[in-house]
């Protein structure tokens, strides 16, 4: 007994010493060259791994592409480190703390890949002066950059998504006036992520006179029998699916079992990727979901990735994954991050690593016109994006895509109606500012 214990203590002591030595060595290495450090919060394990993995692979591949094809951003090499969050808030916070100080100028920006982690980091980012980008997720009211100086929900929020879905239903029905008396059910992941669209949908329900039925699904959503029993009893005209990970495929299977027509089910852009429908296959035929402008497919940038990264044996994930919905979204996110760095360099000095504060400026003054997007290889994937101090979204287009049993077929492109969203954003942001004692920036103080 005694010897075993002493052995153990010895082992633990050795391990602790080794850890200490190795961390100091690693920290000194990083300070050497002109490098920009991009932290990657990922989840390759846990219940959301099937969706988190392609996303994470794409983000890494794009960094590799920039380094291999362009030699970095104006000569500044991009470095990265992944940290596994398992989609858990406490682990996400630990990862953020672990990575925020790496690299010569600290972490460039964070993409938390989870609404829960985004909420926790929103409190920390202003203190550490590191921007957060949440492409298509996060807090909807953070569109208002005058209050949320450090949050960038680029390309869309849950409110723009909900608005586009209502527009699409109206179009299918033949006009907004036809929505009167209809029943629309929201089947949502019972978390901040799932609850975000509710205020906007309620507003629409009031305006157009449809009934909104809210049905929460306990995370992670593998058990939905009672949910779909409710759907069967209430007989809604449409079901909006607001799920992530395993919840989506379960919902589609249950819809099939209860014979709810799949072409009357519409998903948010987190419910419309290959892992969500692949296992359901034919059963998901006719199901439509949003996608942030571009769904699956190979555009110029993916071909470059195959050429410069995968052909060299540097690919992060399997080759077949390139061009899938979530992979492409990962590319979009990483492209916007890199372009923010580039924009910051144009303003603060080319060829130098940028600090979080400078990249925040870059994100706020992002102007990607068609020419730039073409040059980046995103010309077919994205419409021009322009952000400003007041508008941290930049562009709020979304496309409907439909699963035909084997692939996602792209459909109509919509633009969210800011006339309804903007006042809601302002009042929610003002409430946040009041509760936190934040003074909103005005047009004059925006440039500081």
């Amino acid at each position: 007994m005694r010897t075993t214990m002493q052995n153990w203590i010895g082992w633990i002591a050795t391990a602790a010493c080794a850890c200490g030595l190795a961390t100091t060595a690693a920290a000194e290495d990083a300070k050497a060259a002109a490098e920009q450090f991009i932290p990657l919060l990922v989840y390759r394990t846990g219940p959301y791994a099937p969706n988190g993995t392609p996303w994470a692979n794409a983000k890494q591949d794009y960094i590799k592409l920039i380094n291999a094809r362009d030699g970095g951003v104006n000569g500044v090499k991009l470095t990265y480190e992944e940290c596994e969050t398992e989609y858990k808030t406490d682990r996400g916070v630990e990862c953020y703390e672990r990575l925020k100080g790496k690299g010569p100028t600290g972490a460039a920006l964070f993409d938390p890949q989870s609404t829960g982690i985004t909420f926790a980091l929103t409190e920390r980012a202003p203190v550490d002066k590191i921007p957060l980008i949440t492409v298509g997720y996060g807090r909807s009211e953070s569109q208002d950059g005058q209050v949320f100086m450090w949050n960038f929900p680029l390309l869309g929020t849950y409110w723009t998504a909900a608005d586009v879905l209502v527009q699409h239903i109206a179009k299918k029905e033949g006009g907004f006036d036809k929505l009167k008396g209809k029943k629309i059910a929201l089947v949502f992941h019972d978390s901040p992520f799932g609850k975000e669209p509710i205020p906007l949908l309620e507003e629409h329900a009031k305006l157009h006179g449809f009934e909104l039925i809210k049905i929460p699904v306990t995370a992670p959503g593998v058990e939905q029998k009672s949910v779909w029993l409710q759907v069967r009893q209430q007989r809604p005209d449409y079901v909006l699916l607001w799920g992530w990970g395993v919840m989506n495929s379960t919902a589609l299977k249950e819809a099939q079992a209860t014979a709810f027509p799949r072409d009357r089910m519409l998903g948010v852009w987190w419910s419309g990727a290959e892992p969500d429908v692949k296992d359901v296959g034919e059963g998901a035929k006719g199901y439509s979901a949003l996608t942030i402008q571009y769904g699956a497919g190979l555009s110029k940038v993916q071909k470059d990735i195959l050429k410069y990264v995968h052909d060299k044996g540097q690919g992060t994930g399997p080759r077949e994954e390139v061009g899938t919905v979530l992979y492409n979204r990962g590319l979009l996110i990483q492209m916007l991050s890199v372009e923010a760095v580039r924009r910051a360099q144009e303003h603060f000095g080319k060829g130098k690593p940028m600090t979080g504060e400078q990249i925040r400026w870059g994100l706020e003054n992002l102007t990607l016109d068609q020419k730039k997007l073409d040059a980046l290889g995103f010309g077919e994937m994205l419409k021009p994006v322009a952000t400003s101090c007041a508008d941290h979204v930049g562009a709020s287009y979304a496309r409907i895509q439909t699963w035909d049993g084997s692939r996602w077929v792209p459909g109509d492109l919509y633009e969210a109606n800011q006339q309804m969203i903007a006042p809601m954003v302002h009042s929610a942001a003002a409430a946040y500012a009041a509760s936190k004692n934040i003074t909103a920036r005005t047009a004059q103080t925006c440039q500081s």
Binding site: C19, A22, R44, R98, G101, F119, A120, E123
Partner: protein
């Protein structure tokens, strides 16, 4: 040789009954407190403070609370995270609706609020025992989870159901830097540990332990089960409430209802089982085991220069962590605190074991 109480004579009852009767223990404790008050703030990085030490200290408070209920009074509870949630949401509402309150007052009030809720959900313990009680406390967890997610007044009508806190102000001290937060939590932990330790040595603590060991016998010798059990629920929930308010305000800053889910309850229960039921030091060991070890395991491969993929690191972490739980429980089912006690016993007779 070094750790021996020969020659330390006690000449009064007070000296004989003090918390740490052996002089070496007192020195060790003083050194430990001095180290955590002076050395840690000077040496620890922001990362260590914010990501490791602060959550460890806060969960220790919660673990001490749960240990009072489960370890000292023998009432199994799997609703401790819900009581933490009560503290957190109460503190949120107090700071939002009565902003002039001092944060310490808020903490005490959230603890008291959690204690009241704890008593309410402790009432079934008067009629049911053991695993049946565990199931009854699970009901508390589910009910409170539901309340945090559905009662919109609690979250001030936040559209997403998550809340974010203001910065902590008290007596002109803005608790913002990691060091400030650390000192606040450390101070509270010291006070609460001392209070809990002394409570367990008082007649109340003896009533708890009598109830735990055999409730019928305790009843016969004059311990009132009603007051013993409900006081354990109250004190335990008070600790959970304070810990919850700290978890929300000091550690997370913004949280969603899932932050106080049943997983957290189970983790707290596992913490005190691994650490040692009915032991103060066990609560510290258990919290350290659950907060620090996974992160260290996750970082170990990179520090040792072993290249592993992110997913593999995560799997290795889970495997070793699970293995260690089994290993420690196999070596000593009474927890890490018992191992610590055995170590001290061995040290006393070293170098002449008999």
């Amino acid at each position: 040789m070094l750790y021996r109480e020969n020659g330390q004579f006690k000449t009064s009852y007070a000296a004989d009954q003090q918390l740490l009767p052996i002089a070496q223990d007192r020195w060790f404790m003083m050194a430990l407190v001095a180290c955590s008050l002076i050395a840690v703030p000077l040496l620890a990085s922001d990362y260590a403070l914010r990501a490791l030490i602060i959550p460890f200290l806060i969960l220790t408070i919660a673990a001490i609370g749960l240990n009072i209920l489960v370890g000292y009074c023998g009432q199994i509870s799997v609703g401790s995270a819900a009581f933490m949630g009560v503290g957190a949401y109460l503190a949120y509402n107090l700071t939002l609706r009565v902003p002039q309150l001092n944060f310490l007052v808020v903490l005490v009030l959230s603890g008291l609020g959690a204690a009241l809720v704890g008593i309410a959900f402790g009432i079934p313990s008067l009629r049911i025992k053991g695993l049946y009680l565990a199931v009854a406390t699970l009901a508390a967890q589910f009910f409170l989870d539901w309340a945090f997610a559905r009662v919109r007044w609690l979250t001030a009508d936040s559209p997403s159901g998550s809340v974010s806190t203001r910065s902590i102000q008290m007596l002109g001290w803005t608790v913002e830097r990691p060091v400030d937060k650390y000192l606040l939590v450390l101070g509270l932990l010291c006070i609460l540990t001392l209070a809990a330790k002394n409570l367990t040595r008082s007649h109340i603590g003896r009533a708890w332990m009598a109830t735990r060991d055999m409730d019928v016998a305790a009843d016969v010798i004059g311990v009132r089960p009603l007051s013993a059990k409900l006081s354990a629920f109250a004190v335990s929930s008070f600790y959970a409430g304070v810990a919850g308010a700290l978890w929300g305000f000091v550690h997370l800053g913004s949280w969603e209802p899932a932050a106080f889910s049943v997983t957290m309850s189970f983790n707290l229960l596992f913490m005190i089982i691994i650490g040692g039921l009915g032991s103060m030091v066990g609560s510290f060991f258990g919290a350290a085991f659950f907060v620090l070890l996974p992160v260290l395991l996750n970082r170990a491969p990179a520090s040792l220069g072993i290249e592993l993929s992110t997913a593999m690191k995560s799997h290795v972490e889970a495997m070793i962590f699970g293995g260690l739980i089994v290993l420690f429980l196999a070596i000593e089912p009474r927890g890490l605190a018992r191992l610590w006690a055995i170590g001290k016993e061995k040290l006393r007779i070293w170098p002449f074991p008999h």
